[in-house]
């Protein structure tokens, strides 16, 4: 089979926050780099981030990276790797300042410094009281950040391939990564991007759930590609449900609303978080707040005709504060909830939001896999950063504003590591295996020739409904086991999806079918890993894990203080230990988590 090949030093898949940050590093170092993206860079879902990016700048009150580190470890329910966490929080200030230098329009304090607001789980003095750590541009932080980084890339002449969909990872016999296959969406042409370094920054896969704050394009392509190429996926059972998605619509209302003083109320008007988290109240960690909301609803204290949501109330705040600090939320409430939040509370429900797990990486951004008796050996030529990667800094539960930080710090470090390896001549263009493109062509040919297959929309919907029901905010032993069977049955249908439109030019039916191939890998990894983990930890909470002294909150450190690794082949699980040793400071010791 003939196909065209394009050669680059580096190929980056994804132009959201993580991909753009990595690209700056490579372009500034003069590397010949291709950045592939399904959508124009500023349309990536980083654009939707609202609340802010964490850094202990201490602009409003005393703060310290060590406190930030403590909060992140505690937030992760001790599943985060403490070396990567230390690396992230220590690099936070520098990365945020860099953004300011690129031109990002942060809000300002009277003294001209970057404005910071409180956010859930971020505390001063090792968990004492909320601290202002989230650096924000109104409630449009992601937009301001993504545009500033795109603009920086224009300045340093990064080469973009816009509306190119990467389809499969190319690996040789030895397992080295040599690039990707990709389709030009405008023409349908398939090309191999042959690279010495391949960086995945493809974002999350929130679309495996029925109700999600994620964009249509968040289909876990990088994670799916990695899984098909034999890379295990780490900690995929951990999904964050954001407490405040607009009921019915899924659109996010940032936690910054509670940071600015917003309060959650049940049908009786009660500020119920006071009962669940006496200290942090509405600003407790996200998993804690989401579970409290679902408990309120399950116990009959939900609002509305079906008692199926609670209310987010900001009517007691000064209208000026809302319009100045939360203008986007005011718009969203009108557009998607039909309420003017200056006068009425907003109906909200916990909604799937963030994928804590992903492609296993270390703090240098290298993809690491088990090999022989070692559990974390770098895959030559392969790097990942952002939501598709698992460094793992978020462990079992991510703190708000730590994700934008993650993509900055690890986007940069993945880029830096790649540059270093390229410059020291450690990487060359290894010959492409003869079958480089076969896997991809087989997928595309199958779609072109499939008869009597499954409908893409129906199959995706079945997967989303199953995940929502069987692997949601609360998980049940029997439901999980049943969910595994259902998802495996849907997996068999995904292998036989059919599209009516077989045309070449901008065929979005084909794009969606190819995306579903990735979504289903994520769904399988999630439910299989969740079914196996018989404890509760962070966002993964199941009914059969009891809150007794040996296992506080159902957390079983004796048996489960370890990362899951799911392999697509054989639907198999492996485990690796959590890195409890930070880089320079003492280990943050295990404790029962309470807010």
């Amino acid at each position: 089979m003939n196909y065209s090949v394009r050669k680059f030093d580096a190929v980056i898949v994804g132009a959201g926050g993580a991909g753009l940050r990595a690209a700056i590093q490579l372009s500034e170092a003069g590397m010949k780099t291709a950045v592939l993206t399904k959508v124009f860079p500023t349309r990536s879902h980083t654009v939707a981030a609202q609340g802010g990016v964490a850094a202990s700048l201490g602009n409003s009150e005393e703060d310290h990276w060590h406190w930030h580190m403590y909060d992140t470890v505690k937030g992760s329910d001790w599943l985060g790797d403490q070396d990567a966490i230390e690396f992230m929080v220590r690099n936070a200030n520098e990365c945020v300042i860099e953004l300011e230098h690129y031109g990002m329009p942060f809000d300002r304090l009277d003294n001209g410094r970057i404005y910071q607001r409180p956010f859930g789980g971020h505390m001063s003095n090792f968990g004492e009281k909320p601290v202002r750590r989230s650096c924000a541009a109104a409630d449009r932080t992601g937009h301001a950040m993504l545009h500033a980084m795109y603009q920086r890339n224009v300045k340093v002449n990064t080469q973009f391939f816009v509306e190119w969909q990467a389809l499969d990872l190319v690996r040789d016999e030895a397992g080295e990564v040599l690039g990707v296959t990709a389709m030009d969406m405008e023409t349908g042409e398939i090309v191999v991007f042959h690279a010495k370094a391949t960086i995945f920054a493809t974002g999350g896969a929130g679309r495996i759930y029925y109700s999600s704050t994620n964009a249509f394009i968040n289909t876990g392509d990088g994670v799916g590609m990695a899984a098909r190429a034999g890379i295990p996926l780490e900690d995929m059972e951990f999904w964050q449900f954001h407490p405040t998605g607009v009921a019915g619509a899924g659109v996010l209302i940032t936690e910054g609303v509670r940071g600015e003083g917003g309060i959650l109320r049940n049908a009786q008007g009660e500020r119920f978080m006071e009962r669940y988290a006496p200290n942090a109240k509405d600003l407790a960690s996200r998993d804690v707040v989401s579970r409290a909301m679902v408990t309120e609803i399950n116990e009959g204290r939900g609002c509305g005709p079906n008692k199926d949501f609670v209310l987010l109330d900001v009517t007691h705040l000064a209208p000026e504060t809302i319009l100045k600090r939360l203008p986007g939320i005011h718009e969203i409430a009108i557009q998607f909830a039909g309420v003017d939040c200056l006068k009425e509370p907003i109906p909200v429900v916990p909604t799937c939001h963030y994928q804590m797990g992903g492609i296993p990486t270390n703090y240098l951004g290298q993809v690491v896999v088990p090999q022989g008796d070692q559990k974390s050996v770098p895959v030559p030529g392969f790097y990942a950063a952002g939501e598709c990667a698992c460094a793992s800094v978020h462990g079992a539960n991510r703190l708000g504003t730590n994700s934008l930080l993650d993509l900055l710090v690890f986007g940069k470090s993945a880029g830096e590591t790649a540059v270093k390896e390229l410059k020291t001549g450690g990487r060359s263009h290894k010959p492409l295996p003869a079958a480089a493109i076969d896997k991809t062509l087989a997928r595309v040919d199958r779609l072109n020739n499939q008869k009597d297959g499954a409908d893409v929309h129906e199959t995706r919907l079945a997967m989303q409904r199953t995940m929502q029901k069987h692997a949601g905010v609360f998980r049940f032993k029997d439901m999980l086991a049943e969910g595994v069977e259902k998802i495996l049955a849907i997996d068999a249908q995904v292998a036989q999806t059919q599209i009516k439109d077989k045309s070449k030019v901008f065929n979005t039916a084909r794009i969606e079918a190819l995306e579903l191939d990735n979504l289903i890998e994520v769904a399988k990894a999630t439910i299989v890993s969740a079914n196996a983990r018989t404890e509760s930890r962070g966002a993964h909470v199941r009914d059969d894990a009891l809150d007794v002294p040996e296992t506080p909150n159902g957390r079983d450190d004796k048996n489960w203080l370890k990362h899951s690794l799911w392999y697509r082949e054989g639907n198999r699980l492996d485990y690796k230990s959590v890195q409890l040793k930070p880089m320079t400071v003492d280990t943050i010791e295990l404790k029962k988590r309470a807010y």
């Binding site: 959508v39 124009f40 500023t42 349309r43 990536s44 879902h45 654009v47 939707a48 300042i97 300011e100 230098h101 690129y102 031109g103 329009p105 942060f106 809000d107 300002r108 304090l109 009277d110 003294n111 001209g112 410094r113 970057i114 541009a137 449009r140 937009h143 301001a144 545009h147 500033a148 603009q151 920086r152 224009v154 300045k155 405008e186 964009a215 249509f216 394009i217 019915g248 619509a249 659109v251 996010l252 986007g328 718009e331 969203i332 557009q335 998607f336 039909g338 893409v456 929309h457 599209i499 009516k500 439109d501 045309s503 070449k504 030019v505 901008f506 065929n507 979005t508 039916a509």
Partner: protein, 241 residues
């Protein structure tokens, strides 16, 4: 008010696949909506289930990514922010691609010219001072100058509604690009005002704007490119004196 029952809605949609169609045509198609389908984009997603060959861009479904700009009943807008309740009952909803740009397929236009103009204004901060160790300072008042400018989502609703852009897409920067130019001019941290004004000192790039205000009328983010253009023109005049 939200309707309480499912209802059928008629559409007339511009269709064109260069591989199959000698020329574009308008497709009549209807779809039954669910009560939860609130926005035009919800209806279009449902249409696509019925006819999977219908092509359009979409991503965030909340008005921040700028993907789904199109011409809706004769006016540019975002499908995801257009409420179904705003359409007159009983009349088909007419969907066309953004005007003035080449059509790739159906509602998908080629945005090359639009982004070329955006890039032509050097859309990045220029500041040649040595980098301070911390953030550059900016007062809240100076920062406020950027409100109404930095929020642009590059959807192209404005530029493709502008007659001056239709006639001179290669020469006139267009409202989105000029808004971006002013975003940097207005930024107290940027040092390239002179170069930015020089870059626009030309019979076409800036001065083709005749303040027709179509751009302001269609911007889904309620931004005001005409005002920004006015400010640039004012600065030009002032430095001419």
């Amino acid at each position: 008010m939200m309707p309480t029952e499912n209802r059928t809605v008629q559409f007339k949609i511009y269709r064109y696949d260069p591989d199959r169609d000698a020329k574009p045509y308008m497709q009549d198609i209807s779809v039954e909506l669910d009560v939860t389908d609130r926005k035009l984009l919800d209806a279009m997603v449902r249409l696509k289930v019925k006819d999977d060959s219908l092509s359009f861009r979409r991503s965030c479904r909340e008005g921040v990514c700028g993907s789904d700009a199109m011409n809706i009943n004769g006016k540019n807008g975002l499908a995801c922010l257009t409420d179904m309740s705003t359409f007159p009952v009983g009349k088909p909803i007419v969907l066309r691609p953004l005007p003035g740009l080449p059509v790739i397929r159906d509602l998908v236009v080629d945005m090359t010219q639009f982004f070329k103009q955006y890039h032509s204004i050097k859309p990045y901060l220029v500041n040649n001072d040595p980098l301070p160790e911390k953030e550059r300072l900016q007062s809240p008042e100076d920062r406020e100058e950027l409100n109404g400018l930095y929020e642009c989502i590059l959807c192209a609703c404005c530029t493709t509604a502008c007659p001056s852009f239709w006639w001179n897409p290669d020469k006139f920067v267009g409202p989105a690009g000029l808004l971006a130019a002013y975003r940097f001019i207005a930024d107290t941290r940027d040092q390239a005002t002179t170069e930015r004004l020089d870059n626009l000192e030309d019979p076409y790039r800036l001065f083709r704007c005749h303040s027709i205000m179509n751009c302001v009328d269609v911007c889904p983010k309620n931004l005001n490119p005409t005002k920004a253009i006015g400010k640039i023109k004012e600065m030009m005049l002032q430095r001419a004196i």
